[in-house]
Amino acid sequence: MADAPAVLRVEKVVKEFGDHVITRVLHGIDLELRAGELAALIGPSGSGKSTLLNLIGLLDRPTSGRVIIDGHDTTGLDDTALTGFRGRTLGFIFQFHHLLPAFTATENVMMPAYAGRGFPTKAMRARARELLGEVGLGDRVDAPVTDLSGGQQQRVAVARALAHDPSLVLADEPTGNLDTESANEVFELMRRFNRERGTTFLVVTHDPRISARCDHVLEIVDGRLTEQADANDAGAKG
């Protein structure tokens, strides 16, 4: 994996908020993720995890520094280009699944590709159904997502994040709202996709049992990436 190309490079990223009273949340973050890695990002509340994830997810812009994804420097992209790039390259899994309640499971999974292209295709639908089958929801493909359990909804969210074969999937506490069994199932799904398809994952988590099972653990404290430990070290700490 050390020879794999870098999917993500964050270089000296600083993020400040406020106009008059400026608060620096991130202090020159440097990090790198290589293709096929499953990394955990841990840290206490308010340490800057979500801010860093938003910057990597191109949902926000750094005050200074660069975010390079798949070899593309995203610094100079305008909003439209950034949105397109995000849609093609990144997948998102949120803590509260954040599915679209007006749509079925298949439609939710199709959404990134559909939004990007503007028109649906048979291939999109087939791919969405295939992924739902892979996450164990082959019999619920046409169910409204509001009819699914919390664990099932999070599995739909995993399928949605992978539907367009993104280079990097960002998961913000994907198991934080699930019971132990469902949390385990969802993490195993991510692990399986990571191993079988080589998809790169960056998982923000508070759960030491989850971070312990990742390849690589990044710890952020007070806006500084203080440590890059391997999974065993992190697990030992957790």
Partner: protein, 433 residues
């Protein structure tokens, strides 16, 4: 289906209560506009129809004869003028002479070479029909009864193309050949005549008042009685052949007026101008002769537009407020859509489409409701002849304009919510939405 349409329609379906609320607002607004416009347009159309039921659209007459001072008098009156710009008197000692130029009495005169003029005006764009007439004051007597009338000598076929008296006959036929006369129902009643009765028509020689004039008379037979829906006309009109009127008014072979019908009634003033320029005659449009009526119609139009304006404002605010609430409610979903790669332009269009769709559906429902209201109202009251007291004018143009207006309202009302949705920052929308 394009992404924007797919999401917009799904959101409309999902938010049934909100959709129904907006739809109701648009439908009520459109129905008010359709109903009000149909009613006012119907009343106006009826009023114009009644007015033009007994009037030509344009009437051509010779210019009045103006008395002209003799050259010597003209120079004297210039001397008498108090104007400071008047030329100085050639001879300051000459006595000033005050002159009064009296308006000369207007004798009924024929249009010169009226046949040529008739052929000319028939070719003017916008003119549908032209008819020569000899028209002037006369009196009708029967036994001891005598009534002042307006005697009109007409070419039957041409005249019917201008004013369709045949359709308004209440008795007899429109037969003015020979000694036939067709009179108004009021005149028939005042004189106590029926079909086949004889009347004596008399006209002063030359058709104008004047001392020492002879009266020419003719016995005529009532062949038809009409009701043109206007008391003045019904009480005064007597229609005879052109030749009969020429004889009575001593205008052998002449025509005192040429009457025109135009394709578009509100184009009459322009046609009158064209015809006047072409012929050198005085051309009076119905619009000029009924200026007060037009002022009334314009006032009605202003009221209509004012009411429509406020309805439009109310409906626009209604749609906009409901859509803004919808955007606030869906902030997180919009953030998710943005996060997974939906361009802000697509989000904008999702909400514009919702506004547009509601506008189109509202215009269909509102047009239906407006039509029902209109037809119900039309049947509420009727005149003695069975015609509705409040006639309504429902036409495709009205539906088209109401639909365009409603769709436009929907789109305009959706602009602010749509822009707000498109500008949401995905990270903030997901976190705080």
């Amino acid at each position: 289906m394009p992404f924007e349409w797919f999401v917009a329609l799904r959101y409309l379906r999902e938010g049934r209560a909100q959709t129904a609320l907006i739809l109701a607002a648009v439908s009520v607004g459109v129905s008010v506009i359709v109903f009000l416009s149909a009613l006012i347009n119907g009343l106006q159309t009826n009023l114009i129809k009644q007015t033009l039921g007994f009037q030509p659209h344009v009437t051509l007459v010779p210019h009045e004869i103006l008395a002209r001072p003799l050259a010597s008098l003209a120079s004297r009156s210039a001397l008498a003028s108090p104007s400071a710009t008047s030329p100085a008197p050639a001879d300051a000692t000459a006595p000033a002479t005050a002159t009064t130029i009296e308006r000369s009495p207007q004798r009924l005169r024929s249009i010169e070479r009226w046949q040529t003029v008739l052929a000319q005006v028939e070719r003017v764009p916008g003119v549908l029909a032209a008819s020569p007439a000899v028209s002037g004051p006369a009196f009708a007597t029967r036994g001891g009864a005598e009534k002042a009338v307006v005697l009109r000598g007409v070419d039957p076929e041409r005249f019917l193309a201008i004013i369709d008296v045949r359709a308004k006959l209440v008795a007899g036929r429109f037969l003015v050949a020979g000694d036939g006369v067709v009179i108004g129902a009021g005149l028939a009643e005042l004189l106590g005549v029926r079909l086949g009765d004889k009347l004596r028509l008399g006209a002063p020689d030359g058709g104008g008042a004047g001392e020492g004039r002879e009266t020419r008379e003719a016995m005529v037979t009532v062949t038809g009685i009409f009701d043109l829906g206007n008391k003045e006309v019904n009480d005064r009109w007597a229609l005879v052949s052109l030749r009969q009127a020429q004889t009575l008014f001593d205008l052998p072979g002449g025509a005192s007026t040429i009457e025109l019908k135009v394709a578009e009634v509100f184009d009459a003033e322009r046609v009158a101008g064209d015809v006047a320029e072409l012929t050198g005659l005085e051309a009076n449009s119905w619009m000029k002769l009924n200026a007060q009526l037009l002022v009334g119609l314009r006032s009605q139009d202003s009221s209509k537009y004012m009411i429509q304006f406020f309805v439009v404002i109310a409906v626009t605010l209604g749609i906009a407020s409901v859509l803004i609430v919808s955007v606030v409610q869906k902030s997180r979903e919009i953030g998710i859509l943005r996060a997974v790669g939906t361009a802000s332009g697509r989000v904008l269009r999702v909400f514009l489409i919702q506004g547009g769709v509601v506008g189109v559906l509202g215009s269909i429902v509102g047009s239906g409701l407006g039509t029902l209201f209109s037809l119900f109202f039309e049947r509420l009251a009727s005149n003695p002849d069975g015609s509705p007291t409040f006639p309504v004018d429902l036409n495709l143009g009205l539906y088209a304009s109401a639909s365009l207006l409603a769709t436009g309202i929907g789109l305009v009302a959706a602009v602010i919510p749509a822009r707000r949705a498109a500008r949401l920052e995905p990270a903030d929308a997901i976190r705080y939405g």
